[in-house]
Amino acid sequence: MERVPILKLGDILIVSIQIDLDDQSVLTLQEDLADTVVSRGARGVIIDITAVEIVDSFIGRMLSTIAAMTRMLDAETVVVGMRPAVAITLVELGLSLGGVRTALNLEKGVVMLEHARSAEG
């Protein structure tokens, strides 16, 4: 099983998925991330899927679950770097990724989290 590293930048966690994850590794990442949000007091999570070649229903569900879960733990999640072919395929598959915020790249994702924060005051 592969483990995805979780990087910390200020109070943001950054997860960059660089390998083709099997389903068990996906579930492990979900749990690691929930633990890390709490233990590090993170306010934002960025999931970088630039290198991800396909998002099927399992990965799609992971993204929605992580977004909902971190929200409950008082953190916002932004998914960045989705490839155009992946977006086209997701829509045809029928996955809407409801509740998942997205940004085109890492930089825009960071800005989005900062805005979310300042809106909170």
Binding site: S25, D56, R83, L95
Partner: protein, 133 residues
């Protein structure tokens, strides 16, 4: 042209290997990037179904041709419980396993040809084809 290549689907790792194999053959026959992504996504859904709903099975990966256009055909088969109501299983959102119920219906939209043969107690056989355009 080489004949069909059979791969087992018995573990989560096998599902990853199936995705990678389908990706490389899809690129080899010249499918567009979007079509490669679609067929790999469909393969991932159908391979997972074999593992989760039937406890394992196999896929045959084959390059096919109409003479003019190359294509990629995948045959997923298992000896699992089978599907009693195929129309219902093919409906968006129908699941018996707590999934999203998008695997079968979504895969059908992602390929050019989709054929499902199944009966209770007789396993399931799903054939999908994607043609290069």
């Amino acid at each position: 042209m080489s004949g069909p290549q059979e791969m087992p689907i018995a573990t989560n790792g096998d599902v990853v290997l199936v995705r990678q194999k389908v990706r490389s053959v899809a690129a080899e026959i010249g499918l567009s990037l979007v079509d490669q992504t679609k067929i790999v996504t469909a393969a991932s859904e159908l391979a997972r179904n074999v593992l989760v709903h039937a406890g394992g099975g196999r896929v045959e990966v084959e390059k096919v041709s109409t003479g003019l256009r190359p294509g990629l055909r995948l045959v997923f088969s298992d000896e699992g419980p089978g599907i009693s109501d195929i129309a219902q299983a093919m409906t968006d959102g129908f699941t018996t396993g707590g999934g999203l119920g998008l695997g079968l219906s979504g895969s059908r939209r992602l390929v050019d040809e989709f054929d499902l043969v199944s009966a209770p107690g007789e396993g399931t056989r799903i054939t999908v084809t994607k043609w290069s355009r």
